[in-house]
């Protein structure tokens, strides 16, 4: 069972719908016990980084313990940003610090938020992106973006390059919305399911 973590960060039913379409058993939950017992964990989310306070307060130990045990974890959008040390959007809210650096706002040279379909450029080998073509289009909607790190496996160009996908062992993060990214997105969710 895939636990889709509900921590009050926007509308997450579309992630559940995508897994249902793939025939993958998944459950939306806010219960630490259910998260702790899950075979895989997805933290979706849109909106303000401050929403991660609720994640930190109730679910952080269960999630981090599961990751430690090797349970595959996928963070989407704000859920990916939470994997970093934090975000300048809400400096008092810590991230999980599984990747180094802070998420920052787009520079003033581009319109923000970054909304729409943009390309990912593959920069490293990735289990999550297996059979996803270089240059595939994915759907974004965000105002803050994660820095490039050693474990960045795909980048997108918008006001400079930022981390589109990070991957280290069983920890995966995508800044875009795979559940809204057509066939490429469904491929990514299927890859996660098959891990």
């Amino acid at each position: 069972m895939i636990a889709i973590v509900d921590y009050g960060a926007g509308n997450i039913s579309s992630v559940a719908k995508a897994f249902a379409h793939l025939g993958a058993p998944a459950q939306i939950t806010a219960e630490p016990q259910i998260v702790a017992a899950a075979e895989k964990i997805v933290v979706p989310g849109v909106g303000h980084f401050q929403r991660c306070e609720s994640l930190n307060r109730h679910l952080r130990p269960a999630i981090l313990a599961a990751i430690e045990r090797g349970i595959p974890f996928l963070g989407i959008c704000v859920g990916m940003q939470w994997l970093f040390e934090g975000s300048t959007e809400s400096p008092e809210t810590p991230g999980a610090a599984l990747f180094p650096g802070l998420c920052e706002r787009f520079p003033a040279t581009v319109k923000s938020p970054h909304v729409g379909w943009n390309r990912i450029e593959l920069t490293g080998s990735s289990r999550l992106l297996r059979e996803v073509p270089d240059g595939a289009f994915v759907y974004y909607t965000h105002s803050y973006r994660a820095p490039l790190v050693e474990h960045t496996v795909a980048v997108t160009q918008y006001g400079g390059r930022f981390s589109a996908v990070v991957e280290r062992g069983n920890i995966f993060g995508v800044q875009f919305h795979p559940e809204k990214s057509g066939d490429a997105g469904l491929r990514i969710l299927e890859n996660f399911r098959q891990l």
């Binding site: 509308n11 303000h48 379909w117 390309r119 160009q157």
Partner: protein
């Protein structure tokens, strides 16, 4: 990977709009593969397969009885759709919006209700995020403008930048609001996108109102979706260049079949407009 010379890879979006009355798509669409010409779920899926970047479903049902089917329609449509899905029409309260999100929509479009109760924008954005709130603006030009607080002559008002007036209730009621100022206010209140419909151009196939679209795009930092007047690929090129639109919405141009969308995207790509193609 090939990118354009200026490294701009964020594409302009082509959005297909389905007008739905009591759960059935009106303005029949001539898809050759179509089994049921009025089924929103099947039409939305076909549009997505044909290359639409996003689907907007507008409920134009006049009766309360008919409107009850909206959440069922949204649910059936959403479970087949893995591209962004926006629903508008008759959303008046936070709980109306919550029901639409629960049924599987990614964004709601609010129009008359945002004018009547501007704080609704912030309420929905606060709960579901700004990215989930599209403020739809129906705007009309060429009418002698009488702003509520204006005392000067018509010429003076034009000089201070009033381009178009906001209308509500399906374009039947004038509000006296400046469309550019309202777009800015909607953004400040938490809107994530503006869907601008030119009432002067809607249904004419004469092209989008590019000066008005550009004025609104220049006044806000959130994306602006242009609507009203699409009739040819050239019109889309114009609205993405002179009109500075981030996305363009049309219904009737896609009524000729799935090939129309592919041809449109290829034509725009050849004209240098970043497009998601092939998809």
């Amino acid at each position: 990977m090939k990118t354009s010379a200026n490294s701009e890879t964020l594409t302009r979006r082509i959005i297909a709009c389905l007008d739905v009355d009591a759960g059935r798509v009106v303005k029949g669409v001539q898809f050759e593969q179509l089994r049921d010409a009025g089924d929103p779920a099947e039409l939305a899926r076909l549009h997505a397969e044909a290359g639409a970047d996003e689907i907007v479903l507008l409920d134009i049902t006049a009766t309360a009885e008919g409107r009850k089917t909206l959440t069922d329609t949204v649910r059936a449509t959403a479970c087949q759709l893995f591209i962004p899905f926006t629903v508008g029409g008759g959303i008046r309260t936070l709980s109306d919006a919550a029901a639409i999100f629960d049924a599987g929509a990614d964004k709601v479009a609010i129009n008359s209700a945002a004018i009547a109760t501007p704080k609704l924008i912030g309420e929905i954005a606060g709960r579901f995020g700004s990215q989930a709130v599209v403020v739809a603006i129906d705007a009309k030009r060429g009418r002698a403008f009488t702003a509520k607080d204006a005392t000067g002559a018509k010429e003076e008002q034009r000089e201070i930048g009033i381009l178009a007036e906001v209308f509500v209730h399906g374009g039947r009621k004038a509000t006296g609001l400046d469309a550019v100022a309202w777009a800015r206010e909607a953004q400040d209140r938490g809107a994530g996108e503006i869907l601008l419909t030119s009432m002067d151009r809607d249904g004419t196939r004469m092209g989008f109102d590019c000066p008005l679209t550009a004025a609104i795009a220049g006044a806000v930092s959130i994306p602006v979706i242009a609507s009203g007047g699409a009739g040819s690929a050239q019109h889309f090129i114009e609205v993405f260049t002179a009109g500075r639109a981030d996305a363009a919405l049309a219904a009737s141009i896609f009524h000729f079949g799935t090939h129309a969308l592919a041809e449109l995207k290829q034509t725009l790509l050849a004209a240098g407009i970043p497009m998601r193609w092939p998809c």
